[in-house]
């Protein structure tokens, strides 16, 4: 029998039991809507996180010595990068700037009669800041008692700090250092990618003269500053190739870092893209997990279809007998019942997708992130709805097809 007639008869059958059909469809709607909600929320979350990270720093490579299985973004890392390494890195093709980052443990920072407790400030060099990040003033000069602060740090003090203000930095050891603020950078200036999540106040000092971590360089002679983090700024467009060259430098035993790195730790060189990939993978995995739970709701809906179709087959045994007596083949009967199940599934999917998108919208509003639609998921949901109908309807339809017309016509 042709598809149009199959559809017409199936629709008629479903209409005869509107409430029952509607309740069955609701089961599928909930399942599909749950899947689409979580998929939409996951997509939105990913898009939001990625857009936070993807800044202007596409041409930066982050070096850190972290535990080998952490992939390069865990914690502050081990201090292994020496001045010798920084020099070698500067000579690598494609490298524009090499910005080390070290920690100066402090107990407080004072301005005028106001003192604020801080545990650390960042030691770096004069090239750490991209010019565009300066809201005011300039970078400090190496070897001078100068400081750069970011805007959140400037706001910590009454009346905001501005260039020319004097700060008193109290080291953890108790020694006091007087410095002059020479520049104020915006929230993201000179930071590691993750830092932008929280606009934390930061104070930057020149490594010379404030940084104190030194180590005996294996390659050069004498003690050198040693840093836990280094950012390599590359020529734009050459980041990937430069990253490979940087990795090559650390791969052998040529670098100080390779010789200094403790057992179980490894030097990693990652770009923003690597970081974005990694976070995308994490969010995707999380989304899949939650969506997987939502799929359970869909399975319950499918069981609902199978259940109602079995009831329907029993109720319509006589009709099946009639159809067979007037020339319906088993496959015609199967087709009819399968079409009904598929209609239920497809209807559930078609209604469930917009509901799921609405659910995703609510979730993103609640989480205060922008809504990102996942059209692929919506299309997939409809396909899944149809498939659910097929799978759930297969056994009932097979039962219907196998009905013996003689028994069926006798059936009351």
């Amino acid at each position: 029998m042709d598809a149009a007639e199959t559809l017409r008869i199936s629709v008629r059958s479903l209409r005869a039991h509107r409430l029952r059909a509607a309740l069955t469809v609701i089961g599928i709607v909930i399942g599909i809507a749950a899947v689409v909600t979580f998929a939409t929320f996951g997509a939105s979350l990913k898009a939001d996180v990625v857009s936070e990270i993807e800044g202007s720093s596409a041409n930066e490579i982050y070096l850190v010595a972290s535990e080998a299985d952490e992939g390069g973004f865990g914690g502050a890392g081990q201090p292994v990068f020496t001045e010798y390494d920084l020099g070698q890195l500067r000579d690598i093709e494609g490298v524009q700037r090499v910005v080390p980052r070290g920690i100066v443990p402090v107990s407080a920072i004072g301005h005028g009669d106001q003192t604020i407790a801080r545990s650390q400030v960042t030691a770096t060099n004069a090239t750490a800041f991209a010019t565009a990040t300066f809201e005011e003033g300039r970078s400090f000069r190496n070897g001078e008692r100068e400081a750069v602060v970011n805007r959140p740090a400037a706001r910590l003090f009454d009346g905001n700090l501005s260039a020319g203000d004097r700060l008193t930095v109290t080291r953890a050891s108790g020694d006091r250092e007087n410095v002059t603020v020479v520049g104020i950078v915006n929230g993201t200036g000179g930071q590691l990618p993750f830092s932008s999540f929280s606009d934390q106040p930061r104070v930057f000092l020149p490594a010379d003269p404030f940084y104190q971590s030194v180590v005996e360089s294996p390659n050069a002679v004498g003690n050198q500053f040693v840093y836990p983090q280094v950012t390599v700024v590359t020529d734009p467009g050459d980041t990937t190739a430069t990253k490979e060259r940087v990795r090559g430098y650390f791969a052998g035993d040529r670098s100080d870092a390779a010789l200094l790195v403790p057992d179980g730790y490894a030097v990693s060189a990652q770009t923003n893209d690597d970081l974005v990939d990694r976070i995308e993978r994490i969010v995707t995995r999380l989304t899949r997990f939650v969506t997987g739970i939502a799929v359970i709701a869909l399975v319950v809906g499918a069981v609902g279809i199978a259940n109602i179709m079995l009831v329907s087959v029993t109720e319509r045994t006589r009709e099946i007998g009639i159809m067979k007596a007037v020339g319906a083949r088993s496959r015609d009967v199967m087709q009819l019942f399968l079409a009904e199940a598929v209609l239920l599934g497809a209807l559930g999917a078609v209604l469930g997708v917009p509901l799921g998108v609405a659910g995703g919208w609510v979730a993103t509003r609640y989480a205060e992130i922008p809504l990102t639609l996942a059209p692929g998921w919506a299309a997939l949901a409809v396909v899944v709805g149809v498939l659910v109908g097929v799978v759930a309807g297969l056994y009932p339809a097979w039962r219907a097809a196998r009905v013996d017309p003689i028994d069926a016509l006798r059936y009351e």
Binding site: I9, E319, K324, A325, V326, G327, A328, R329, D332, P405
Partner: protein, 282 residues
């Protein structure tokens, strides 16, 4: 007015007393040569056994043929094998032994799907309980066999409308079965049985669920169909219904007990003097 020579008005007649008197009107009684082109149904030594707790022979060694254009009634008490015969002839069931040929085709040799096709194309069923599809309209019910024969929709509708007009329901086309009386429903069912222009009409107690007057009108309709050349096999347990046929085959305990020929008077149909009957096996 119908006159029946042998034991008019009574039910079952003793088969052994019957002799075939007239060879005239329906050419051919039970047991004609198989393969005859004019034979619509040919049962040869058909046995149908049901395996249950005990083995039951619903039909045993039955031979019967229905010539084209014949009108045959099957009578017998319940359990005599009437329904089994109908199921076998209609291609709903297959025999345990023997062959059932419908329009020359051995039904047992066909696949399930092919038998379904034969049911739709070669056989028209009319049931006691009408067996209309409850949610389809009259015209859709009549067109249903054509759906499975892959007729285009417009052609189906046209054919169904024609047939409904023929059975006097031209004004009830889009009514659902629940909106029709019993007689009307049965006429829809008859129209449905005729939809694919089948070689054989099978009627199982077609008047069993309607009042006497309506029943007579239904039987008149069958009479018209017979006159139009349709081959009819009618199962009934009511003698006055069976007497509409040319020939009555009596079943008892799964066997043919006797065959009697009905002679109608006051009707131009047949001129045999009397009629009688006779038998296959003793």
């Amino acid at each position: 007015m119908i006159n029946l020579s042998a034991t008019p008005g009574t039910g079952v007649t003793d088969a052994t007393e019957r002799t075939e008197a007239g060879t005239d009107p329906p050419p051919g009684a039970a047991g004609r040569d198989p393969g005859d082109a004019d034979t619509v149904v040919e049962l040869a030594a058909v046995t149908r056994t049901y395996e249950g707790g005990a083995t039951v022979d619903a039909l045993s060694d039955v031979s019967l043929s229905l010539p084209e254009g014949s009108y045959t009634a099957v009578m017998g008490p319940s359990g005599s094998g009437k329904s089994t015969l109908l199921n076998l002839v209609g291609g709903l069931d297959t025999p345990t032994a023997g062959t059932v040929r419908l329009d020359g085709q051995d039904l047992a040799a066909l696949s399930e799907a092919e038998r379904a096709r034969v049911r739709g194309r070669t056989v028209g069923f009319v049931f006691q309980t009408f067996n209309l599809m409850p949610r389809l309209t009259a015209v859709e019910n009549v067109a249903l066999p054509l759906v499975f024969q892959e007729w285009p929709r417009a052609d189906r509708r046209e054919r169904a409308e024609e047939l409904l007009a023929d059975v006097g329901l031209g004004d009830r086309l889009d009514h659902q079965p629940t909106e029709l009386s019993g007689g009307q429903r049965q006429r829809v069912a008859i129209a449905r049985a005729l939809a694919a222009d089948p070689a054989l009409l099978l009627a199982d107690e077609p008047t069993g669920n309607v009042d006497t007057e309506t029943g007579e009108r239904i039987m008149d309709l069958f009479e018209e169909l017979h006159e139009a050349g349709n081959t009819i096999l009618l199962v009934t347990h009511e003698r006055h219904i069976a007497e509409h046929a040319d020939r009555i085959v009596h079943f008892r305990d799964g066997e043919i007990e006797g065959v009697e020929t009905v002679v109608e008077t006051g009707d131009g149909d047949s001129e045999g003097s009397g009629a009688g009957t006779e038998t296959e096996d003793a």
